[in-house]
Amino acid sequence: MNEVDQTVLSGITINHYLVLSIILFSIGVTGIMIRKNLIILIMCIELMLNAVNLLLVAFSRYYGDANGQLFVFFIMAVAAAEVAVGLAILIVAFHHAKTTNIDVFNKLKW
């Protein structure tokens, strides 16, 4: 592990990670907008969260500060909890509507 640790990521700047994470985040956002399957939407949200995680870790490395990584743990925990609850809701919804297409949930409006 030490080898990796001590190697300079030559040529890779913080901007690279920023760009990567923004791209992933945007892909996640795109997914939320264009998909209608509830389960896929949950996945897209996870993708967004992971983009954030990646960014945090990159910054953590950039500052040499462990706080960023610790934050990622909490995000992971929360993500797990969210997925659990989300899936529970999804199951209830599926039992009720027999579909996971979110467009059927449009009874509440106006």
């Binding site: 956002v29 979110i102 467009d103 949930f105 449009n106 009874k107 509440l108 409006k109 106006w110």
Partner: protein
């Protein structure tokens, strides 16, 4: 009793009578009611005589009840004044008033509103006394409006009848137009003289006149004159008076002949200094006066209602009085006012007696030959007609002659017109007399009999006054002593200094008299010719033919013009304002706000479509918007 207290008490008595009568209502038997009604006026009359005596020695008395209004510099005490002018008016009002009250006992007998009638009459006398006794314009104005109110109440006395009510309303509203003029006059007076005390105003005006005439005096006098026009039924506000004949005849006699309508004359006489200082308005007064006089006389030619004839004759006579005061011969005007009160009251009461005898018939086309059936009435009526026609030695002759005589020196044209008007007067009065009392009854009525004593007594007394009243101011040319003129002199001294009247030579004076007498006799002869001796009376009374007759019988179409120019447009505009401007526009705009909110609510609700996809999209667009905006604003 001092003069002071008398001043305070005199108007209160009729008020007391009014209060008692109106509160007691129908519970009071007729006898008691008439006792109260006439009694209070009689006592007032006696007080007036006492006051008259005390004035003759002291000249002027004042009495203040309390301080009425006091704001800033605007201070108006509730105070009354008695000077010769007032005293004369008071005597006429209470004296003639008393006679008419007595007359009403008989005339109104059995009417269900008997008590109310006396109450209103008393109220009228109260206000009329306030009018003439007020020491400042505002008290005068109380009386001014108050008599209008009494007039309204009495014209519409028989309130079941819609026409009568309309007449009453018309009278009130037209009076109000004049009143507005008076109010504005008061404002102007207050602005320029800082007070509303009549005496102070006139005195200040006199002082100012030494430095040059105040330009606003024209406006002030014009406004006052507008007030006078309204009250005295001159052109163009004259149309209410003939309609006002809807009231019971004693009302017509008291209010619409003897007293109230002369308030305009009183107003100008009271402000004689102001008017003397503004010659232009005096010209206007004369012009309006003579025009009204002529026009009314012309209209009276074709009227068939006995009271309407008398009403137009009143307008005509009032016009003559305006000519007099406009000519600055104030005492002559007042003299005529007094004699007119006598003979016109007499004529009206006589007419009332006729109507009473004929059970309400007022159309002279249906009368005739009443001379024998109603001897006292017809005799007194004839005396009155002779007086108004200006035949010596009846009172009308002296008073009218004095006016014409003074005119002769100042304005020949108006003298000619006034003479024509008085000639017409003689003609239509005798047309009336002949058609009513001569010939034979054209529409038989049962049970015609002479009126009771309460009716004939006042007639006789008034006939006496009408006959001999002229001697109060017996012309000097006949070696007489102008008592009235002298009595009134203190009031008019200052104004006569401003514009001294040319003294007529005796020959000229006799000449004018002669012309007047000749004209009157000629007119009477003509009337005799037309209505007794010559042609078929019925034909004359038939439907009017030709342009002139139509114009005359339609009263110069004034009512119709007013209807078309004022009343109808006002109604139309009001309706437009209400239905279109108010409801549709102003309120509509207000309501539109609510509508817009509701509409936008039902339109904008589509952003809350219920679709998660859309929500997400909208939110992200929102985020983008916020980011861009923050970027934009932070730069």
């Amino acid at each position: 009793m001092t003069g002071n207290t008398l001043i305070g008490l005199t108007p209160l008595l009729p008020l007391l009578g009014f209060i008692i009568l109106i509160l007691a209502g129908r519970r009071l038997p007729e006898g008691v009611a008439s006792l109260i009604g006439c009694g209070t006026i009689l006592v007032s009359f006696l007080f007036s005589i006492l006051l008259f005596n005390s004035i003759r020695t002291s000249g002027q008395e004042e009495f203040q009840y309390f301080n009425w209004i006091s704001v800033d510099t605007f201070k108006v005490p509730f105070s009354l004044i008695a000077d010769p002018l007032t005293s004369l008016m008071m005597l006429v009002i209470t004296g003639v008033g008393f006679l008419i009250h007595v007359y009403s006992i008989g005339y109104m007998h059995g009417d269900e509103g008997y008590n109310r009638f006396f109450a209103y009459l008393n109220l009228f006398v109260f206000f009329m006394l306030l009018l003439v006794m007020g020491s400042n314009y505002l008290i005068l104005f109380i009386g001014w409006e108050g008599v209008g109110l009494s007039s309204y109440l009495l014209i519409g006395f028989w309130y079941k009848n819609t026409d009568y009510n309309n007449a009453a309303k018309k009278a009130f509203v037209m009076n109000r137009i004049g009143d507005l003029g008076l109010i504005i006059g008061m404002f102007l007076i207050f602005i320029h003289y800082g007070t509303l005390q009549i005496a102070e105003v006139n005195a200040t005006a006199l002082q100012n006149s030494t430095t040059g005439i105040h330009p606003n005096l024209t406006w002030i006098t014009l406004c006052l004159f507008i007030g006078a026009i309204g009250k005295s039924a001159q052109i163009p506000l004259h149309t209410w008076l003939p309609d006002a004949m809807a009231g019971p005849t004693p009302v017509s006699a008291l209010i619409h002949a003897a007293t109230m309508v002369t308030a305009g004359i009183y107003l100008i006489a009271r402000n004689n200094i102001l008017f003397s200082l503004s010659p232009f308005i005096s010209e206007v007064v004369m012009t309006i006066g003579v025009a009204s006089s002529l026009m009314a006389a012309l209209i009276a030619l074709k009227q068939n209602d006995i009271k309407k004839v008398l009403a137009y004759s009143t307008i005509s006579q009032l016009g003559l009085m305006f000519v007099a005061v406009g000519n600055h011969s104030y005492s002559a005007g007042l003299f005529h006012m007094m004699t007119h009160a006598f003979f016109k009251a007499l004529l009206f009461l006589g007419a009332g007696s006729v109507i009473h005898a004929l059970h309400g018939e007022q159309d002279i086309r249906n009368m005739g030959g009443l001379r024998k059936l109603l001897p006292i009435t017809s005799l007194t009526f004839l005396l009155g007609a002779l007086a108004i026609s200006g035949l010596p030695p009846f009172s009308g002759f002296f008073s009218k002659d004095e006016i014409l005589m003074n005119l002769f020196t100042t304005n020949k044209l108006i003298w000619v017109l006034a003479s024509i008007s008085s000639m017409l007067t003689a003609f239509y009065m005798f047309r009336l007399v002949f058609l009513t009392f001569w010939g034979k009854l054209r529409k038989p009525v049962d049970h015609i009999h002479e009126s009771p004593l309460t009716i004939t007594m006042p007639l006789i007394l008034l006939a006496a006054l009408a006959t001999f009243g002229g001697f109060l101011n017996f012309p000097q040319v006949f070696g007489g002593q102008q008592k009235l003129h002298e009595f009134l002199l203190p009031v008019f001294t200052e104004s006569s200094k401003i514009l001294p009247l040319n003294e007529l030579s005796h020959s000229e004076e006799l000449m004018t008299m002669g012309i007047a007498i000749l004209l009157a006799i000629g007119a009477i002869g003509l009337a005799y010719n037309y209505f007794i001796s010559k042609i078929d009376v019925n034909k004359l009374l038939a439907v009017p033919r030709g342009f002139v007759q139509n114009v005359l019988s339609q009263k110069f179409y004034v009512d119709q013009i007013y209807e078309a120019v004022v009343t109808q447009p006002l109604q139309k505009i009001s309706g437009f304002l209400y239905r279109v401007i108010d409801v549709r526009w102003i309120d509509g705009i207000v309501n539109d706000y609510g509508f817009i909110v509701r509409e936008s609510s039902s339109k904008f609700r589509f952003i809350q479509s219920g679709l998660i996809t859309q929500y997400i999209l909208s939110m992200i667009i929102g985020i983008i918007g916020v980011l861009i905006a923050s970027k934009f604003f932070s730069a």
